[in-house]
């Protein structure tokens, strides 16, 4: 077996990135194929049905549910204004009438003569989606959204929290193993995305929120700090919905983890440039990883790497993704085909790994990931 399959994260300086931008419900697409869009441009919009307000009509009128509808002064589908009288009881000789004002602006949606509840709906809410990245519209998904394509620097993280944000990248870490301190988070970082080093703590994250930092890209975080920052334990890893005020992208893993040099170098090169980032992660079928995207001019020529298609081979650059030597980067120097016994006494497929200083070790193939060139 000459090479082996290894799932790897993309860390590429130049790649063609495609992003699907889709409405949660059907609506109107505002751009067409071939259009050039900016990250903040609205590309599709729709209206979400408004919130529902339910009113105990029969109860308020003091009549059985089956009779209450005869007291309605409006019909199903009618538009209504707040405080408009929508139902009124006849009272006694025109006296002691019960008038029911609408609690909202909206429409009358439904009346149930079993429950006696009147359902009113507030006006629809506008939902708009933007392009997220600068680029060219290459596909229109009818009534739903678009696919935008662009040459870009594309970095996938391993885990993240928080949703999409856009802002200027700001190199704060002095080196890939740098540990951010509270003093590093200054007022001028407001609205920016901080490039950190090997560790971020819950204290720093809270400081980021306080100073208005919108995102942070960092090598590692302690699980304990993540729990403290979120206020709860993550059970199943489905993230992106957190509204903590800052999007966090972890590039290496949990614990203090020196950011991969390549990742750090690419991010450093983009210091001061505008990036689109998303912390959403789903570790389940159809895995979703967090990402950092910095777009290039649309005409930039990109030669796509073929490495991912090829799999791991002799001289492939890989990263160790499990203890011991977690995070170490080196090169594959041997891929013996026979199973080998490791410290646990398990017989597994292994590879021979060479550190940057020339030291060699043997470890399970499952415990490395390919770093894309």
């Amino acid at each position: 077996m000459a090479h082996s399959y290894t799932p790897g994260l993309k860390v590429t300086e130049k790649a063609i990135v495609k992003k699907e931008r889709r409405l949660p419900l059907k609506g109107e697409v505002l751009v067409k194929v071939g259009d050039l869009v900016k990250a903040d441009d609205i590309v599709a919009r729709t209206e979400l049905p408004g919130d529902v307000e339910r009113l105990n009509l029969a109860g308020k009128l003091g009549v059985p549910p089956k009779e209450a509808s005869s007291f309605l002064k409006v019909s199903i589908g009618d538009k209504i204004k707040k405080d408009q009288i929508i139902a009124e009881s006849k009272g006694f000789l025109g006296l002691f009438k019960t008038s029911i004002p609408s609690p909202i602006d909206g429409i009358v949606e439904n009346y149930s003569d079993i429950t006696g509840m009147l359902t009113l709906r507030k006006p629809p809410k506008k939902v708009e989606i933007d392009a997220y990245v600068n680029g060219k519209v290459v596909e229109v998904i009818e009534n739903e959204g678009i696919v935008v394509q662009t040459p870009a620097t594309f970095i996938q993280g391993i885990f993240g929290i928080g949703g999409e944000v856009k802002g200027e990248l700001k190199l704060v870490a002095k080196s890939p193993d740098y540990v951010l301190t509270k003093n590093d988070i200054t007022e001028d970082l407001k609205g920016k995305i901080v490039i950190g080093g090997s560790l971020v703590t819950s204290e720093i994250l809270n400081e980021c929120v306080k100073k208005g930092v919108i995102g942070i890209v960092v090598g590692g975080i302690d699980d304990k700090d993540l729990k403290d920052f979120l206020g709860e334990e993550i059970g199943v890893a489905i993230t992106g919905q957190e509204e903590k005020g800052v999007t966090v992208i972890v590039t290496e893993g949990f614990g203090q983890m020196t950011m991969a040099k390549k990742t750090f170098d690419i991010l450093s090169k983009n210091d001061g440039k505008r990036a689109s980032i998303n912390g959403a992660t789903q570790i389940r079928a159809g895995v979703m990883r967090p990402e950092v995207i910095v777009t290039y001019d649309i005409d930039t020529i990109v030669e796509e790497s073929k490495h991912a298609e090829m799999g791991m081979d002799i001289n492939s650059i890989v990263r160790i993704i499990r203890q011991p030597y977690f995070g170490a980067i080196g090169k594959v120097v041997g891929l013996p085909s026979q199973l080998q016994k490791i410290e646990t006494e398990a017989h597994v497929r292994v590879l021979e790994f060479e550190f940057e200083d020339g030291k060699r070790i043997v470890l399970p193939r499952a415990n490395v990931e390919l770093i894309e060139e």
Binding site: T115, I158, F159, D223, I283, G286, E369
Partner: protein, 597 residues
Amino acid sequence: MKEKDQITRILATDCGSTTTKAILIEKRENEYRLIVRGEAPTTVEAPYEDVTKGVLNAIKEVEELAGIKILDGDNIIKREKSEGDGVDIYISTSSAGGGLQMMVAGVVDKMSAESAARAALGAGSIVMDVIATNDKRMDHERIKRIRTLRPDMILLSGGTDGGTITHVVQLAEIIQAADPKPRFGAGYKLPVIYAGNNKAVDEIKERLEKKTALYIVDNLRPTLEKENLKPARDKIHDLFMEHVMAQAPGYRKLMDMTDVPIMPTPGAVGLLIETIGKRDKIEVLGVDIGGATTDVFSYFQNTFNRTVSANLGMSYSISNVVKEAGLKNIMRWVPFHMDEKDLRNRIRNKMIRPTTIPSTLDELQIEQAISREALRLALEQHKTMAVGLKGVQKERTISDAFEQTSTGETLVNMLTLNLIVGSGGVLSHAPRRVQSALMMIDAFLPEGITMLTVDSIFMMPQLGVLSTVHEKAATEVFEKDCLIRLGSCIAPMGNIKEGQEAVRIKFDDKEFVFNFGDMGVIPLELNKKVKAVISVAKGLDLGNGKGKEVEAELEGGVVGVIVDARGRRPFVLPENDNERVEKLKKWIKALNVYPEK
């Protein structure tokens, strides 16, 4: 598909959430045997996002190891005659989908809503929220919640049969107004299971049939005193299996490749366990611990039960095991002192890189510690669900109708249990078989005398599906190549003073004595059975009563007869950290569980 007698080479795969396993079976000298096994990481992740890629990779490994050609590009060669390249039949199982997250709704939070939540939890789901008419929220808040959570499924209940329908219809109206959308697939409606007042069915249909995929089952609370969770749980289970399977990217492609319909992994393993129980007329407990889910199967009192704990597993769901069990419960099985921060990070790193394997002894011990808790929780869940056939319902008096604690008498009885079958990566691939034995003993705490077995290389799913098309081949491979007999386990119930003589075992003119608090192994080779006389101390019970002698058949195995004199009901580990570590080390040494460092 070929006639059965013409099938001489069988290829079978199982797509787990983490690993895809392929086995090759051939008929040689008139019997079917396992030839080779290959595996590859499951490819549901980007950039692959297609389960068939992992399947092909696993098959390639089989090709290499067996030295035969099976693939022609991306196609499996199906041979016309029983010779040459290719295979005669290709079959597969799958559980590549992931976990299950639900919302439940019921009229009264302490009554039907609680029963509904129990049904969902019992079916292995995570309950994201419970909506009840008296939960003190406004309707619009409930509607918003349903929309933002995007559950995989909703269970709606409420009202006793024939009672008032107002409240449950009101809940249906809330769901109707929310118009919930599933997280996956635009062209697919969110499943809603209705298990409430039977009189309200028409009203519920009217409101929900168009907007959701509505399923009606028997009321889970037919009267105030009766709880009948089984129909709702079974429906959740069935929908989950369909749902999970269909979500795996590339699943449709895989369907085209197989000769018979793909079977859900738990269904296939369950079939095997049930067959063993029926055939040998014994009580069996089976477990398959995977990356995302842990499945438990049992055959007690001639009744088969199956549960899928959809969020307990060793890779994708590993963090949820920590959440459910608590870090302390996991740490209690780690035989060395360890920093909580370090353990947390290691577990999370396994979650984010689910296909990695332990390469040091410490890492292996941590992983096996977590597996004990995953197995323990999965069995707990199974116990609450394995409550017999439909119609066996928990009767509640009016007084305890308001104070619910348990769901019913479980059929699972660790004392009468004859056989435990363990399967899944962490059990099948444990470097020493005794490790699997100890993981199962610690997690399940068997009582009396129980035979322990393990799936040799994790191929029960494939054999399960094979048994539906070629029973002879499945049975032969299962008996000869799959089931590894570890040995009998003797575990008396009760507690006496530490160090006092607990168990005395006599057979073949030999005598073995074990003190309370100890574990040990009596060598007895594979397939050897002996009649033994076992006496226990006054305070202990092996099934015949306290202090009573038992005559029993003990069976040997690759480990031998394991004696567990650590006590039961309760089984206790020392609270003190140093004492606990010392104890664990002592047992590990007695059973020779790990290599000396």
